[in-house]
């Protein structure tokens, strides 16, 4: 694809690179329905597997539209990569899972062992922020066991290493499913998005992830970007209304079990909002992250151009 | 004449895979005596020696001896390439648990005895000449005060003078300490000079085809005696045939 001059005519082919997570069923639906047929002859969906892949793709210009955590996109922009955030698709997907009934609120966590993944990454930062706001010192008042990925966290949690795990979707749905199969009762004890909202005095929403878009596409084909965003909005409505069909649809693209997709959809807070509209919430989120780890968005808030608006 | 045999070999046969090497070899040797094995190249002398020393087992037959410290000088010097000359000489001593300083001292002394210069002490095997390596191997064997010497062409790479010296040294040790020795050599003069008993192997597989006793005490074996003894050996048809020298006349000059 790369350096071909973009014209006002329709493109032969266009690829959207989605995240390896449930919200990508929205993109799957959009592609399946030829929602971009006015602009692109053939739209395809590719799911990247690791952030490295996404980064390399964006840097090399292969990925024009890509699923990304919001802070990652801001970070890339702050480091000089010409990208913007198109929209936010998911508004909070972090849950505190327990194997017993005793945890009902954040303050119950004092003195407990918790397993979680991705140290210093956004989920960890959010969790620690919540703890702090609730008056707990993450270093002293409870014991955090970090592991590499949610997979390890889930396995250790299910194997009984800890009673509590902090897991993002779809790992939290998977853990419930596997727990059921293994006869272990697993509960979503705390919705950390809600807890976060309560403690910060905001709505229970975290502008976590959405689609990023390269500056060069925004400049050369603004109408295509707009069409993608609008198709997302339409597809999201369908997905929310037809979770079972969405599960089947996503299974082919995401290589996830339909059951897991279907079960996890309600927990994603799926709501397509353009970045410009979401700007206040994004900035609040970024500020909170920076409070914990200044470098996570590249040291400063992204400037105006970051927030794409329809 | 011989007292109770200290080494006795009975009906010994050996083969490597399908190839027979030794066939029904029987002989014995009393304590304090030197037996010498001669025979054509490849007839199984080294193999026999290694069986006497217990390094391999005969296919058939028995070897009986009461020696507690048999020692080898192999046909190849078999030095440890990663040890210098002195440590190679001291190898057997170390195996006996002799302390470091003492064994180094004794090794250095023995190296002198076999005619190595003080500046050869620290040389590694690849820096030694062929004859020097052979002498290191000899010194290594003599160091551990054995009671049975198994010498496989131990002087083959030495010059005339050194060879005579080493022969005298070995025979003196044997007589002084009442050792027993089995010597393999291709040099009839050496055999006649050192041995009390010469065993001739030949054939394929090899059998013991002749045996010559040499009665005169070592001290009285002068060059004339050696010369005439060699001629006597070669005049024995079995021996001459074994060494394939029937057609050459009885030249002791070899």
């Amino acid at each position: 694809f790369g350096g071909r001059p973009l014209s006002a005519q329709s493109l032969d082919q266009f690829t959207i690179n989605a995240m390896p997570a449930t919200p990508s069923v929205v993109v799957a639906h959009l592609v399946e329905n030829n929602a971009l047929s006015a602009h692109v002859a053939k739209a395809t969906l590719k799911v990247w597997r690791t952030p490295d892949q996404m980064r390399a793709g964006v840097l090399s210009g292969d990925m024009k539209v890509f699923g990304t955590p919001s802070y990652s996109c801001a970070n890339m922009m702050n480091r000089g990569v010409p990208v913007r955030l198109m929209n936010i698709m998911t508004w909070g997907l972090l849950y505190l899972m327990t194997r017993g009934p005793e945890i009902r609120s954040v303050s119950d966590l004092a003195g407990k062992d918790v397993v979680l993944a991705f140290r210093n990454d956004a989920p960890d930062l959010i969790f620690r922020l919540v703890l702090r706001r609730a008056g707990l010192d993450p270093e002293k008042d409870l014991k955090l066991h970090y592991v590499g990925t949610p997979t390890e966290a889930s396995q250790l949690f299910l194997a009984g290493k800890t009673e509590i795990a902090v897991l993002p979707e779809p790992a939290s749905s998977a853990v419930i499913l596997r727990g059921m199969q293994a006869g272990i009762s697993v509960e979503r004890a705390i919705d950390l998005t809600e807890a976060y909202g309560k403690l910060t005095g905001r709505a229970p929403r975290i502008a976590q992830a959405g689609l990023g878009v390269s500056e060069d596409l925004v400049q050369s084909r603004p109408e295509l970007v707009k069409a993608i965003h609008e198709a997302c909005v339409a597809s999201a409505r369908w997905v929310l209304n037809n979770p079972a069909s969405a599960g089947r649809l996503g299974a082919d693209y995401l290589d996830l079990q339909p059951a897991i997709i279907e079960r996890s959809l309600p927990w994603f807070r799926l709501n397509i909002t353009s970045a410009a509209e979401a700007r206040p919430e994004l900035e609040a989120y970024f500020n909170d992250l920076m409070e914990m780890s200044p470098d996570i968005v590249g040291g400063r808030l992204p400037d105006d151009r970051f927030y794409w608006g329809a | 004449m011989p007292p109770a045999p200290a080494l006795s070999i009975q009906g010994l046969s050996h083969s490597f895979g399908p190839q027979g090497v030794l066939d029904d070899v029987t002989f014995s040797l009393p304590v304090g005596r030197v037996g010498c094995l001669i025979g054509p190249s490849g007839c199984g002398k080294s193999t026999l020696l290694s069986m006497i020393g217990g390094l391999s087992e005969p296919t058939h037959g028995t070897i009986a001896h009461a020696f507690r410290h048999p020692v080898f000088v192999f046909q190849d010097p078999c030095l440890l390439p990663w040890r210098d000359a002195r440590d190679n000489v001291a190898f057997g001593l170390k195996a006996q648990g002799v302390g470091r300083n003492e064994r180094r001292c004794r090794a250095a002394r023995l190296m002198e005895v076999v005619g190595l210069a003080p500046d050869d002490v620290g040389k590694y095997p690849h820096e030694l000449s062929g004859g020097m390596r052979q002498r290191v191997a000899l010194a290594r064997a003599l160091a551990i005060e054995p009671d049975l010497l198994l010498l496989d062409e131990p002087f083959s790479a030495l010059d005339l003078g050194l060879r005579r010296q080493m022969q005298a040294l070995v025979r003196r040790l044997i007589d002084q300490r009442n050792l027993t020795a089995v010597l393999v050599t291709h040099d009839l003069a050496e055999a006649v000079r050192l041995a009390d008993c010469v065993f001739v192997l030949s054939g394929k597989p090899a059998r013991l085809t002749a045996r010559h006793d040499i009665a005169r005490p070592f001290a009285e074996r002068d060059d004339g005696f050696v010369h005439s003894e060699v001629n006597r050996l070669l005049s024995d048809p079995a021996t001459a045939r074994a060494l394939a020298v029937e057609d050459m006349g009885h030249g002791g000059g070899q």
């Binding site: 390896p20 990247w48 597997r49 690791t50 490295d52 892949q53 980064r55 390399a56 793709g57 840097l59 090399s60 292969d62 990925t149 997979t151 889930s154 396995q155 299910l158 194997a159 779809p170 790992a171 998977a174 853990v175 499913l177 596997r178 293994a182 290589d255 996830l256 079990q257 897991i260 | 083969s15 490597f16 895979g17 399908p18 390094l55 391999s56 087992e57 296919t59 058939h60 690849h126």
Partner: protein
């Protein structure tokens, strides 16, 4: 010990050897089963389930393409690493200067975590299997390099002089003199590198999303499907064991031909060592 006894003992030895490998595999399976009993399916699925999943995956037609792809990536990297590592190692073994020049590069390649390469590799090779092959080369070439260098360096000086005296031309010097000696050093290095190749290929596929078994493993992990994940691993391991017994072991025995003793004396001795 006569010839018949010798033959018989060698045949027995071979049989025993096969038993040894079988015993060892059975022991491992028993350990695995015990681990399963202790930790449950979510940490360590049972051998039976895993094999069943493997068979199912085979039936689905998902196993073979992935295995072929990973095998291609691994073998491609391995062959390249053997050539590059072998040739440069031989040069480093022959000249001190070369060694000094190449050794730091080898150390570097061994020491830099794959994760530091992965973005570069992705940029150079896209998402294709080449990125995985590249990672394999980077990790295994230095191992082959060390072995080759040591092999050349340790050739007996006398043999070298002999070859020189006979004015042996270059290719024959390499083929008849250096290589047979080097092989004894190269072989363990190559065997290690070969086994390592699959593991590295799988990890690289996982990191770079390049498809193959790594992809399958990643998917199974996301779904917390430990049975399927272990089935993928089992596929790799089975392949490696097959390679070990169908390729490496015969080669190992063949390479030993010229060392083999006709009698049993020596092994009795080494038994004494243990």
């Amino acid at each position: 010990m006569n010839w018949v006894r010798d033959r018989a003992s060698r045949a027995l030895d071979y049989l025993w050897g096969g038993w040894g490998a079988a015993a060892s595999l059975l022991l491992l399976t028993a350990l695995w089963e015990a681990g399963h009993a202790a930790y449950g399916t979510l940490v360590l699925p049972s051998p039976r389930d895993t094999v069943a999943a493997l068979v199912r995956m085979g039936g689905d037609g998902r196993l073979l393409p992935a295995v072929v792809e990973t095998t291609g990536n691994a073998l491609g990297g391995f062959v390249a690493a053997s050539l590059v590592g072998g040739v440069l190692g031989a040069m480093a073994g022959a000249s001190d200067m070369m060694r000094r020049l190449l050794q730091p590069i080898a150390t570097l390649m061994l020491g830099i975590p794959a994760i530091a390469w992965v973005v570069l590799a992705l940029l150079w090779f896209g998402g294709s299997g080449l990125a995985a092959s590249f990672t394999v080369v980077v990790t295994t070439a230095p191992i082959v390099f060390s072995g080759a260098a040591q092999g050349v360096r340790t050739l007996d000086g006398d043999l070298r002089r002999m070859a020189r005296a006979f004015r042996v031309p270059g290719p024959m010097l390499v083929w008849d003199v250096y290589l047979p000696h080097m092989l004894s050093y190269l072989f363990p290095a190559l065997a290690s590198a070969l086994a390592l190749s699959w593991k590295i290929a799988v990890m690289a596929e996982l990191l770079s999303g390049a498809g193959g078994i790594g992809d399958g493993l990643a998917t199974a992990r996301v779904q917390l499907d430990t049975v399927k994940a272990l089935a993928w691993v089992l596929a790799v391991v089975g392949l490696l064991l097959a390679l070990e017994y169908l390729l490496l072991e015969p080669v190992r025995r063949h390479l030993q031909t010229w060392r083999r003793e006709a009698q049993g004396g020596d092994s009795a001795m080494t038994r004494g060592l243990l």
